[in-house]
C-alpha cells in the first residue's frame, strides 16, 4: 500500500480520485441520494403562500402500491378510514391525558413563565426544543413540564403570527451572542429550537424538521392536519402520549450522530459475502409476499441491508426515523411487534404496517418488514423466523455480532490504525450518490445510552476542559465546516483550517464529502498525502463498509 502510493503521483486534492467512481459509489442506490441541506433550502425558500399550498397537495405512494398489487379501490378506502382515529375513541381516555391545562393566556401567565424558565429544570440548557400548535397550545418541551410553559408558548405564537399577519413575512431566527432561537412553522405546528450550541440555523431547522417528521411518523400528516382543521384548540399531547420519548431520543441522536448532519445512512461494515447472504435470505423468503414494500435489517443505528419493492427507494431521513424508533423502543426486545409506521418522505398521508423484531436473543440485529397490508402479521412473523434460521445456518449472525462488537481483527474496526496514518485523528466520509456514511470511529451506543439516562435532568451547558476528544466532539467540530460547505449563498468546495488545537480539512466533490481532523499545524503536502491514502483505502474496502447493491424483491 505504502509503496504504491509512492509510485502513483499524489492525487491533487482538486481532482476526483483516479477511479471512475468515488469510493462507495454504485450505479443503483437503495437510498435517495440527498443533501440534507437541500431540504432546508427548499424549506427556507418557500414564501407564505407556497408553504400553504405545499401541505395540501400530496400524493399517496401507499395507495399507488395498493392499487398496483391489485387492491380494489373500495378496500383502500376502508383501510384508510379505519386507520383514522375515530371520534368515539376520544371518550375513553379523555380523562387520561386530560391535562389540567388552564386555558392558555399569554399575558396573564407572563410572570409565571419567566419564573419557571429560571428554575433548574430549564435554566442553562444547551438546547431547548418547544413544539406548540399554531393556536399556541404546548405540545412538547424537551425539558420541564409543558403545562407550565403555556405562557412561553403564547409568546412564541404571538411572535410568529405578528410577523406573518402584520408583516406578511416569516419569522426565521433570533440571535444573541451566545444563543440562537430558530422558528419553523410546519402545517398546524410551530417548532422552536433555542440553542447555545455551535449548530448553524440551517442545522437547527433541519433538526426541527426531523422532530416534525417524527410527529408525522406517528400520526400521518393527513391526520395531523385534519385534527387541527376540526379543532384548532386541540391538545395534541393526547395523541402523542408515548411519542415524546421518540422526540427526546431523536434530539439526542441528532446531536451525536453525523448521519443527520450529512443526510446519510451509516452501514454496518460486513464482509461482502455475509451481506450478500443476508440479502438473499431476505429476498428468497419474502419474494412471494406481494404486499411487502421494504425489508430492512439494522443493528446499532447502522444499516445491514435493505430490500425494496422495485420502483421505490427510501429517503435517508425516513431510515433515520426507523433507526430512532428501534433505538428508543425497548419493547421491541421483549416481543415481536406489529405497528403502524408513517414514513413522511415515502408517504406522509398514510401508514405502512411494520413487523418489528430482533433476529434472535444472541444477535441484536433488528428486522423490519414494512407492508401496505394491515393484517399481515402472521405471514411476516413466519418469514422472520425463516430468515433468522437461514442467517444462523449461514453464519451471518456471527458476522453481524463480530461487526457490532467491533472485533479487533476487522479492518473497519479501527481503520486509522489499519491504514497506518497516525496523523489523522478522525474522519468521516459520505458517498453522495448512495447517501451512505463511514466514520473512523462510530458513535458508540453506550455514550448515547449514558446521555439518555440523564438527559431529562442533564443537557446543561458544561465548561469542561477537554483532554481527549471523543468521537462526538470531533463531530461537533465538523458542524461549522459542514455549514460552510453547504452554505446556500457562499458555498465552499474545500476548507483547510489549521490552528494550535487541530487541523481540519473539509472537502466536497461531485461524488463525496470528506471531513478529516489532523494533528495541529499540519503541513499541507502531508495532509494531501494522508487524504490520498485514506481515499484509496476506502475504495479498497468499499464493498465492506458500504452497501453497493440495491436489491429488490
Amino acid at each position: 500500500m505504502a509503496s504504491t502510493s509512492k509510485d502513483v503521483p499524489i492525487v491533487t486534492i482538486e481532482e476526483n480520485p483516479p477511479d471512475d467512481l468515488e469510493p462507495g459509489a454504485c450505479y443503483d442506490s437503495i437510498l435517495n441520494p440527498t443533501d440534507s441541506f437541500e431540504e432546508f433550502a427548499s424549506e427556507m425558500s418557500s414564501s407564505l403562500q407556497e408553504r400553504n399550498i405545499s401541505l395540501a397537495a400530496i400524493n399517496s405512494t401507499i395507495s399507488e402500491i395498493q392499487s398496483e398489487i391489485g387492491e380494489n379501490s373500495a378496500q383502500i378506502k376502508t383501510t384508510k378510514s379505519s386507520d383514522d382515529l375515530q371520534n368515539k375513541d376520544e371518550s375513553i381516555s379523555a380523562s387520561t391525558s386530560n391535562s389540567n391545562l388552564i386555558e392558555q393566556n399569554g399575558d396573564d401567565t407572563d410572570n409565571e413563565k419567566d419564573d419557571y424558565l429560571q428554575t433548574p429544570e430549564l435554566v442553562n440548557k444547551e438546547k431547548h426544543v418547544f413544539i406548540l400548535s399554531s393556536a399556541g397550545k404546548p405540545i412538547y418541551s424537551r425539558y420541564g413540564n409543558e403545562d407550565k410553559l403555556a405562557g412561553l408558548c403564547g409568546v412564541i405564537q404571538a411572535l410568529v403570527s405578528v410577523v406573518e399577519e402584520q408583516n406578511q413575512d416569516i419569522l426565521r431566527s433570533i440571535t444573541t451572542k451566545d444563543c440562537k432561537a430558530v422558528f419553523l412553522v410546519k402545517g398546524p405546528l410551530i417548532l422552536v429550537a433555542v440553542s447555545k450550541s455551535n449548530e448553524s440555523e440551517t442545522q437547527l431547522v433541519l433538526q426541527l424538521t426531523y422532530a416534525f417528521n417524527q410527529i408525522v411518523s406517528v400520526l400521518t400528516l393527513t391526520q395531523l392536519n385534519r385534527i387541527f382543521e376540526q379543532r384548532r384548540n386541540y391538545d395534541l399531547r393526547r395523541l402523542l402520549s408515548g411519542a415524546e420519548r421518540l422526540i427526546d431520543h431523536l434530539l439526542i441522536f441528532m446531536e451525536k450522530d453525523p448521519a443527520f448532519l450529512l443526510g446519510a445512512v451509516r452501514c454496518l461494515p460486513l464482509p461482502e459475502k455475509a451481506r450478500e447472504n443476508i440479502t438473499s435470505a431476505i429476498q428468497s423468503t419474502c419474494n412471494k409476499i406481494r404486499d411487502l414494500v421494504f425489508a430492512i435489517m439494522l443493528a446499532g443505528n447502522q444499516l445491514i441491508t435493505l430490500v425494496r419493492m422495485k420502483k421505490y427507494t427510501l429517503h435517508p431521513s425516513d431510515i433515520h426515523l426507523l433507526f430512532n424508533l428501534v433505538r428508543s423502543s425497548e419493547s421491541f426486545k421483549t416481543a415481536e411487534s406489529w405497528t403502524p409506521i408513517c414514513l413522511p418522505k415515502f408517504d406522509s398521508t398514510g401508514f405502512l404496517h411494520g413487523h418489528v423484531s430482533y433476529i434472535s436473543e444472541d444477535c441484536q440485529a433488528c428486522l423490519l418488514l414494512l407492508t401496505v397490508q394491515r393484517d399481515a402479521f402472521f405471514p411476516l412473523s413466519q418469514a422472520k423466523h425463516t430468515i433468522a434460521e437461514k442467517l444462523r445456518r449461514s453464519n451471518c449472525l456471527v458476522a453481524i455480532n463480530d461487526a457490532l462488537n467491533r472485533n479487533e481483527e476487522l479492518p473497519t474496526t479501527n481503520p486509522l490504525k489499519h491504514i497506518g496514518i497516525p496523523e489523522i485523528r478522525h474522519f468521516m466520509y459520505k458517498c453522495k450518490s448512495t447517501a451512505q456514511l463511514f466514520t473512523s470511529d462510530p458513535i458508540s451506543l453506550d455514550k448515547l445510552q449514558d446521555y439518555r439516562m440523564r438527559h431529562k435532568v442533564g443537557g446543561d451547558i458544561m465548561v469542561k476542559k477537554i483532554e481527549k476528544l471523543s468521537d462526538i466532539d470531533y463531530v461537533r467540530n465538523y458542524r461549522r465546516f459542514c455549514s460552510s460547505i453547504h452554505c446556500t449563498s457562499t458555498p465552499a468546495k474545500l476548507i483547510f483550517r489549521s490552528n494550535s488545537s487541530d487541523t481540519i480539512l473539509a472537502w466536497v466533490t461531485n461524488g463525496f464529502e470528506l471531513y478529516v481532523t489532523f494533528d495541529p499545524l499540519m503541513e499541507k503536502d502531508q495532509a494531501i498525502k494522508a487524504v490520498d491514502r485514506l481515499l484509496k483505502w476506502i475504495k479498497k474496502e468499499e464493498q465492506r463498509i458500504f452497501i453497493m447493491h440495491a436489491p429488490t424483491f
Binding site: 387520561t96 402520549s241 420519548r245 419493547s331 406489529w338 402472521f378
Partner: protein, 247 residues
C-alpha cells in the same frame, strides 16, 4: 408493611379448577383474517413443537403506563425491569405455553400499546381474542376510572363469550395506592368478570392470573360441568375475606 400484599392469599387454590382435556381445535381459521393466508407447509421448529396444543389468543389491555408489558415480561422471564419505562409501540406478540392441571395451554399473548393513537390498530385484534386481561394501575385513579370505557369498547369489538379478567397492577405500591382493592372487586362484580391484584414488580399473582385465564379458556372450550365453572368464574368473591388491610 406493604409486604402484606406479597402474601399468597390471592393465589388460587389449584384444586378448585380441574378442567377436562382440550378438544382438538385445529381447524381454527386464520386468526388475523389475512387474505389468502394458509399456515406454512413447513412450519418452523418453534411452532412445530407445540403443534398439538390449542392456541388461545390473549390480549393485554389498559391505559398506557399501567404495566402491561412489565406484567408480560415478569410472566415470561420472572424478572422485573426496574425504571425501564418504555411504551409499547403498536402490538407486541409472544407465545407462552402454560400447564394447568397437567394440560398444556398455549397462550398467544398480544401486548398492546395503551396510547389512544394505537386504538384503531388494536381494535382489529379484539375480534379474534379468546381472553382479555384488562389492567389498571392501583396508584393511578384515572386508569381505574377508564376501565368502564375499556369495558365498553370490549363489548363493542370483542366476541361475546370472550374471557375477561380485570387486574389491579402495582399492588406493591403501599402508600401510593389510590384505588382500594374493594373498589376493584366491586367493579369486577358489576361487570361479571374475574379480578385480581397483581404486582409485576414482585411477581405477586402474575403466574396466577395467566393460569386463571388458561383454566377459564380450557373450561370454556369443554363445558362439561357448567355449574362448576360458574363458581370459578368469580374467584374474587372467594378471596375477599383474606384481603389484607392495605388501603
Amino acid at each position: 408493611m406493604a409486604t402484606d400484599d406479597s402474601m399468597s392469599d390471592d393465589v388460587f387454590e389449584d384444586d378448585t379448577l380441574r378442567a377436562p382435556a382440550p378438544a382438538a381445535h385445529r381447524s381454527t381459521p386464520s386468526p388475523t383474517g389475512y387474505r389468502d393466508y394458509y399456515p406454512p407447509a413447513v412450519p418452523s421448529s418453534r411452532l412445530q413443537d407445540d403443534d398439538d396444543i390449542i392456541i388461545h389468543k390473549t390480549i393485554l389491555l389498559g391505559d398506557s403506563g399501567v404495566g402491561k408489558t412489565s406484567l408480560l415480561v415478569q410472566f415470561e422471564t420472572g424478572k422485573f425491569q426496574a425504571g425501564n419505562f418504555s411504551a409499547t409501540v403498536g402490538i407486541g406478540f409472544t407465545n407462552k405455553v402454560v400447564t394447568v392441571d397437567g394440560i398444556k395451554v398455549k397462550l398467544q399473548i398480544w401486548d398492546t400499546a395503551g396510547q389512544e393513537r394505537f386504538r384503531s390498530v388494536t381494535h382489529a385484534y379484539y375480534r379474534d381474542a379468546h381472553a382479555l386481561l384488562l389492567l389498571y394501575d392501583v396508584t393511578n385513579k384515572i386508569s381505574f376510572d377508564n376501565i368502564r370505557a375499556w369495558l365498553g369498547e370490549i363489548r363493542e369489538y370483542a366476541q361475546d363469550d370472550v374471557v375477561i379478567m380485570l387486574l389491579g397492577n402495582k399492588s406493591d405500591s403501599g402508600l401510593e395506592r389510590a384505588v382500594r382493592r374493594e373498589e376493584g372487586q366491586r367493579l369486577a362484580r358489576e361487570y361479571q368478570v374475574s379480578f385480581m391484584e397483581t404486582s409485576a414488580k414482585t411477581g405477586l399473582n402474575v403466574e396466577a392470573a395467566f393460569a386463571h385465564v388458561a383454566r377459564s379458556l380450557v373450561a370454556k372450550a369443554n363445558p362439561v360441568d357448567p355449574s362448576r365453572l360458574a363458581v370459578r368464574a368469580q374467584p374474587t368473591q372467594e378471596q375477599r375475606s383474606s384481603c389484607p388491610p392495605c388501603s
